[in-house]
């Protein structure tokens, strides 16, 4: 990781441009990503927030090139990771990237661990694969160190996944993801399956490890609160597009937001304000098999005009860091 940091010319670690991904299923064509744009700097922590079916996981799988074979298809766009064109890279090049320079943590720790292999050997395997030059003693030492770091006594490394609780399993998965010292960590709903007090422990661990390793992270979640806990920047996703992007302050101060973001904030009860009723977003998530021509949120939006139905808005710049994809924020127009 160290030598990569010395290349100031290329500050962006990851650039996704106009990515279109669809799933060709027997029943229908599902348009999962529709012009997805994203840039991630080295060491940045970005939260990606969206509801079920917004395309969050598809984005992560596209970066790892793990889209389901024959069904998942990239129809347009590009993903550039540190100068490497991911969509054109050879299978061999991907093997060197995946698990070494880019790691991923999945939602359910039980299904991402092998039930018949001890946890220690599963972590060891990562080193065996990506650091063949390391001696056995060195590898074992690294595994012990990593377990210590995520708060698991190294003495337990010969135990099997079922002997650990959900929170502990997620710690093991994090150890597996970080032992190769990746530059980018993709965390797909890492705490959704956990209880709040355990979630708080895991989030604290993630914050601490980020400080130590300076890993860039994309945290995928449906929970705006979790993003507020660990991220610097946030991107809101709807219908396979980033509809708002900014620093946490830009977005959470709630002065200027995309109508959908505004809706999400209104729909979450918090610990401070007293409301007789929540402001729910009317209607349901846009149907990805049958996308509208214009703005994907038009049907549920209170500010919808004729133009929104005709023409998909472009990303409008509100400040150096804050961008919103909505006609309301076109230069010259005033939103509230």
């Amino acid at each position: 990781m160290g030598n990569k940091m010395q290349k100031p010319a290329n500050e962006n670690l990851l650039e996704i441009r106009n990515l279109h991904v669809r799933y060709n299923t027997d029943e229908a064509v599902v348009h999962a990503l529709n012009g997805f744009d994203l840039t991630l700097k080295r060491g940045e922590t970005l939260g990606i927030v969206g509801e079920t079916g917004a395309g969050k996981t598809t984005m992560a799988l596209s970066i790892m090139r793990l889209l389901p074979k024959r069904i998942g298809e990239v129809t347009a766009g590009s993903i550039i990771y540190d100068g490497i064109d991911i969509l054109k890279a050879s299978a061999n090049a991907m093997l060197k990237l995946r698990g070494k320079r880019i790691s991923m943590i999945f939602q359910d720790p039980m299904t991402s661990l092998n039930p018949v292999q001890t946890v220690g050997s599963q972590i060891y395997e990562v080193l065996e694969l990506h650091y063949p030059e390391m001696t056995r003693e060195e590898k074992h030492r690294r595994v012990d160190e990593m377990l210590e770091l995520v708060g698991i006594p190294p003495a337990r490394k010969d135990e099997y996944p079922h002997q650990f609780s959900g929170g502990m399993k997620q710690r093991i998965v994090i150890a597996m993801a970080l032992i190769s010292k990746p530059e980018l960590l993709l965390a797909d709903e890492p705490t959704t399956a956990l209880d709040v007090t355990i979630q708080a422990q895991i989030l604290e661990l993630v914050r601490e490890l980020k400080r130590q390793f300076n890993t860039a992270m994309i945290l995928i979640t449906h929970d705006l609160g979790v993003v507020n806990e660990v991220c610097e920047n946030v991107a809101i996703v709807y219908g396979g597009e980033v509809i708002e992007r900014g620093t946490i302050e830009d977005v959470y101060v709630r002065e200027k937001n995309h109508p959908y973001t505004e809706g999400l904030f209104g729909a979450i009860p918090d610990l401070v304000t007293d409301l007789p009723r929540l402001k729910s977003i009317p209607g349901y998530m846009v149907d990805p098999t049958n996308l509208p021509e214009g703005c994907k949120f038009a049907d549920r939006c209170g500010f919808c005009t004729e133009r929104c139905r005709r023409e998909n808005p472009i990303l409008h710049r509100l400040s150096d860091t804050h961008f919103i994809k909505c006609h309301l924020f076109e230069e010259g127009s005033n939103h509230e």
Partner: protein
């Protein structure tokens, strides 16, 4: 019914399960009361016994000990016809809208079934009319009447579950994590619907959830459970303004919120994880994770009233 008498009440309600490793104390000595038209929120992490409590109250599983009263009558003594009558008044909404609906029944049949079972309608016309009404109340478009559960998404299925619970016009509904499986925008729709129904029909809820923000929004009174025991009980605003039990405090500190000012707060992290209440020792069950644990915590802790309406099971807490 008199104003003061609670609609639903439990006394020393206990539920133990026998497991190969010993007796699991899922619900321990729970005393609660819910007034007509009010909501009691039950919060806790997985395994704290909150779902078991809801099921025992509805007699879906028999309690080990204790009593459940509905309008002053002990419903555990009910048999046969009385039981059926009881279920006209007490209903349940389940967490998972994917497994709680019969996949082989159409939406109209799912909603109609409780009315048939309880003999509340005289003929098909009346039934169809009632189903149509219920679907409208729950925000389900009439075109879904002949569809099947697999054709609907989570939010709409949860509306079907709610319509089914409302079919017999109950006065009391146990809501077991009714919004946990739903996206936030849909969650808000269901919460609003539940609150509207309470306002219009005066339904009471026992609202079980792990989400403190949701429970604060919907409840009048809140009960915090840990490993089968009630550790704190208070009126909503009192609990959030003045949490006393160390576990409640830790829970409040742990929840991620959208409040920017909480970003850099001092976080109280709990050590360790929830254990199983199998053959529990008499002392405080939270003590192994508690930052303030002391010798006194080995003694049994009982709920004490430390301020009007505010009860805590911790010897350290003084009003």
């Amino acid at each position: 019914m008199s104003e003061n008498r609670p609609l639903v009440e439990t006394r020393n309600l206990c539920k133990y399960f026998d497991t190969p490793r010993g007796q699991l104390h899922a619900v321990e000595e729970v005393n609660l009361s819910i007034k007509a038209g009010e909501t009691l929120g039950v919060v806790g992490e997985s395994g704290c016994g909150k779902s078991t409590l809801g099921r025992v109250i509805l007699r879906l599983i028999p309690p080990t000990r204790g009593e459940v009263y509905y309008e002053g009558e002990n419903i555990l003594e009910y048999r046969g016809k009385q039981l059926k009558k009881m279920h006209v008044n007490m209903q349940m909404i389940f967490q998972d809208p994917f497994t709680s609906l019969n996949p082989r029944l159409s939406i109209s049949n799912i909603i109609a079934e409780p009315m048939k079972v309880c003999g509340l309608v005289r003929n098909r016309r009346e039934m169809a009319e009632r189903v149509r009404e219920l679907m409208e109340v729950c925000g389900l478009p009439a075109r879904y009447v002949n569809t099947y559960p697999h054709e609907l998404d989570g939010g709409r299925r949860q509306r079907v579950g709610l319509a089914r619970a409302l079919a017999v016009d109950p006065k009391f509904i146990v809501c077991d994590e009714p919004v946990s499986a739903l996206d936030v925008s849909i969650q808000a729709q269901i919460l609003n619907l539940l609150m509207d129904l309470q306002e219009q029909k005066g339904v009471s809820y026992l609202f079980i959830t792990h989400d403190l923000c949701v429970v604060r929004h919907i409840s009048h009174q809140i009960m915090v459970m840990y490993m089968g025991q009630v550790v704190e009980f208070a009126e909503k605003n009192e609990l959030f303004k003045n949490p006393l039990h160390p576990y409640t405090k830790a829970l409040l500190s742990a929840i991620p919120t959208i409040d920017l000012s909480r970003r850099n707060r001092e976080r109280q992290l709990l050590r360790g994880e929830v254990a199983n209440p199998i053959n529990p020792k008499p002392g405080c069950r939270f003590a192994p994770r508690c930052a303030y644990a002391a010798q006194e915590c080995l003694e049994p802790q009982t709920l004490r009233e430390v301020a009007p309406g505010h009860k805590v099971a911790c010897w350290r807490c003084q009003g």
